[in-house]
């Protein structure tokens, strides 16, 4: 895990974790994200939201046929938000956008995961690159008085 990146006038901490793209490591990813969220003084509800969103993102990667060997989790803290990035170096989008490799029930459950991510986090965006893999950025904004 890395630590401390300085911006121009806003201190931003960054925590990075690389886990194998296998189910038994997903718990570690959500615990790491929860620990960072806790540092930002997010509420228990909000920490649970972050845990579930990270779990769903990692699960989507693992269940995708063309996933890479590793999942990169990056948590950035700013005075305004927690920014969580889940990167998979596999080919094509993994976050429930490519249902063609799943049967209907699997696709519905994958859709549920994407729905949960979008519902629980304040901002969600994808960046899909055919060669470099998929980047999922999820943002949880801080309420006034949180952080620090």
């Amino acid at each position: 895990m890395n630590h401390a990146v300085e911006n121009e006038n806003v201190a931003t901490d960054r925590v990075e974790l690389r886990i194998p793209s296998r189910p038994e490591w997903v718990a570690l990813a959500r615990l790491a994200a929860a620990a960072v969220a806790n540092r930002l003084r997010l509420s228990i509800d909000e920490i649970e939201d972050v845990k579930l969103a990270v779990t769903e993102a990692c699960t989507a990667v693992i269940q995708h046929e063309n996933h890479g060997d590793f999942i990169h989790l990056t948590c950035e803290t700013t005075p305004q938000a927690l920014r969580v990035r889940v990167h998979d170096s596999g080919r094509q989008g993994a976050h429930g956008e490519n249902g063609q490799t799943m049967d209907l029930d699997e696709a519905r459950i994958a859709g549920l995961g994407v729905f949960l991510i979008r519902t629980l986090m304040d901002e969600v965006s994808y960046d899909v690159h055919p060669q470099l893999g998929t980047d999922l950025l999820m943002v949880k904004r801080l309420a006034a008085g949180q952080a620090g």
Binding site: P23, D45, R108, I109, L112, G113
Partner: protein, 126 residues
């Protein structure tokens, strides 16, 4: 992937499944731990084995479940679909607000009976 004494990390990763017979044709599945992509196959197997044996009335007790994700929800939905094909039903016991929130925002509160006590879940099955 264990801690120094092999305990805390195992507890985080593990799901405990206990199956017991309730009144009549009903069975109770007690779950304890976290249900995610790693642990949900164990839950799926336990529910699947019961249905394969002809058990179509189930109470799934989530009182000791700390966490559930979409793969866990998928297992419960799959079980419900299978028992309904035989005229059966699945009721859940859950008072954990975080978990109830997941059922709420996914709309699954409309397809599962969710009860505060095992007794109430059992009575509502028949």
């Amino acid at each position: 992937m264990t801690s120094c004494n092999g305990k805390p990390w195992d507890n985080i990763l593990d799901i405990k499944v206990n199956v017991r017979q309730g009144p009549g044709d009903c069975y109770v599945v007690d779950l304890s731990g976290e249900i995610d992509v790693y642990t949900s196959p164990k839950v799926k197997d336990a529910i699947g084995e019961l249905i394969d044996r002809g058990v179509y009335y189930l109470v799934i007790n989530l009182e000791k479940v700390r966490y559930i994700d979409s793969t866990g929800l998928g297992v419960l939905i799959g079980g419900l679909k299978r028992v309904r094909e035989h005229g059966g039903s699945v009721n859940l016991v859950c008072t954990n607000l975080q978990i109830k929130k997941i059922f709420d925002i996914t709309g699954l509160v409309k397809i599962f009976g969710i009860f505060d006590t095992e007794d109430a879940a059992m009575k509502a099955l028949v």
